[in-house]
Symmetry: C2
Subunit: 113 residues, 2 copies
């Protein structure tokens, strides 16, 4: 029996450009746990450069920084998600949960297909 | 002032494979209006081959056909969206509308970013 599933994704665009979505949210969650960009990048099987580019875009695109980096140490030093970054991740997660609850109450589409 | 917007997309997967989503829904809507695959493909700036592949996948992946094609005529003949196809599009559209209403009531994320 084939497994049918409805999935949803949401993201924030600034001037039509993807700014925040599932990728950056996951990266921020990993930075919170790992305490560094290199550790978070590793967990996501992503290059350090790519992780850095994502954070650079987040930090420069909003009024508040999402991640605070600290120089020194090996492999680029420590990184911390700012209170602003944590608030955005929490709000984004809450919205995603809400959207998923809408899907759960719409099994009709699955049954139809 | 930068224009910030939350966007959402939903789709149906069968065994982890994308089966139905915004692309097929739009193609079916165009087929309904145009009455042919070639006309619908043109409206979507998509090759006839690509449109055919999408419909072939829909028609073979579900218990019921989404599109009925009629041989003959020039450029591949007529095509009609079946009652089943129309029901799926309507249900998908209703779900998308519902998800967008959830976004509208969640302006908090936008204001935060």
């Amino acid at each position: 029996m084939a497994k049918k599933q409805i999935r949803v994704r949401c993201w924030v665009e600034i001037d039509g450009d993807r700014f925040f979505g599932p990728g950056p949210a996951e990266l921020l969650r990993h930075i919170e746990v790992e305490g560094s960009l290199s550790g978070a990048a590793k967990k996501m099987r992503m290059s350090y450069k790519k992780a850095w580019d994502i954070i650079e875009k987040l930090n420069s695109g909003s009024r508040n920084k999402f991640v605070q980096t600290f120089k020194g140490g090996n492999r680029g030093g420590r990184a911390e998600v700012t209170p602003h970054g944590k608030r955005v991740v929490a709000r984004y997660q809450a919205l995603t949960d809400k959207l998923n609850r809408v899907l759960d109450s719409n099994e009709g589409l699955i049954k139809l297909i």
